[in-house]
Symmetry: C2
């Protein structure tokens, strides 16, 4: 089973590494980071670079496709190299997945039309503009399309997908080995839970408008 | 404020990226990945490489020191280049932190003697052998030393540390923007919660012995 995680400049690192750390532990999985060209790809902060070991052209038919998000997503909504690869990889994939604003890239490629999907809470309205039924859920399965909400939600998605692919015990194994027994010291992880003035501040400053 | 995250071959990626994704969002923070030599550093699976932008020698006095763990930790318990850098960076750090078996490296450097600390659940007994009061807690503060349990716990540590450094509202901001509202699809994230036969299987196969 080949798992391909797409990278582009100014991706958000945990969007990619959350699913990576879970899915790459599937027995027999080959996980590969791919980008337009092989080499280091910088994240949104600029202080982290993950190496893409392969070019899109070298990974034409992954079984599982993972598209992270991040501020750089905006620059790629009409990037035909990326979008064409997403479409052709999706044509033969068993699972096509995204984290955060990665769902906007899947939507821009035309892959989510008429489907239920999710995204970062600041991007849900934007996702709806692509003919997607945008939900606020953390992980959404619709057929072979699996989308996760913002940044950290890719860990939950990875475990849920392992459950579907390899069964509950394998997912529990990965959860145990990654000691995923979350104990956030605050309870502000969603717009429903965070202080209202913070939610408003980031809605007002969002690149997607309010 | 300079935050240095140490890398070594066969580190576990989420150990490093969990604290990175949270701490790098501190206003004014400069975050840098460091290793013995600059360049790509491969993780435990071999399919991920993070770039170390600087050598240890180029980052002599970070304010915050983060040491991830992973299978490669075992190879560095007597690595005097790494241990000497940990000691000298710690001499002037404001916070010295670890995730997972990174605490064993801090312990090998002599930095945790007599302190309370934690580690991956499989490594707690090993940590005790270094004169450390080994706890099973997820995040442990003892003075300026902050240690986190296995892999994913570095996210909780990062948020807790942001709260100490910059206050509750800044931590809530980072939690909201990373949408850290965890909803694990299974409840097997600790040895107390996972099926007993899985816990026993991994204890029996642990590189630290039973």
């Amino acid at each position: 089973m080949q798992i391909a995680i797409a990278l582009f400049e100014r991706f958000t690192s945990l969007d990619a590494v959350g699913p990576y750390e879970t899915l790459s532990r599937l027995p027999g999985a080959e996980t590969v980071f791919v980008a337009e060209r092989p080499g280091p790809v910088r994240n949104d902060n600029g202080s982290l670079a993950l190496v893409a070991d392969r070019a899109f052209a070298d990974v034409p038919a992954p079984d599982v496709l993972v598209v992270p998000g991040g501020p750089g997503q905006s620059d790629h909504m009409t990037d035909e190299t990326l979008l064409a690869w997403l479409r052709s990889a999706d044509a033969t994939s068993t699972w096509t997945t995204s984290v955060c604003t990665g769902s906007l890239l899947l939507a821009a490629a035309g892959l989510l039309k008429g489907r239920r999907a999710t995204s970062h809470w600041l991007a849900l309205a934007e996702l709806g503009r692509f003919g997607v039924e945008s939900t606020g859920e953390r992980v959404v399965f619709d057929g072979k399309y699996v989308t996760a909400a913002g940044v950290s939600s890719g860990i939950d998605m990875g475990l849920a997908l392992i459950g579907r692919i390899a069964g509950e015990e394998q997912a529990q194994t990965v959860q145990l080995l990654t000691e995923y027994d979350p104990q956030p010291p605050y309870d502000a992880g969603s717009p429903q839970k965070a202080p209202a003035h913070l939610v408003e501040k980031f809605r007002a400053g969002s690149r997607f408008g309010q």
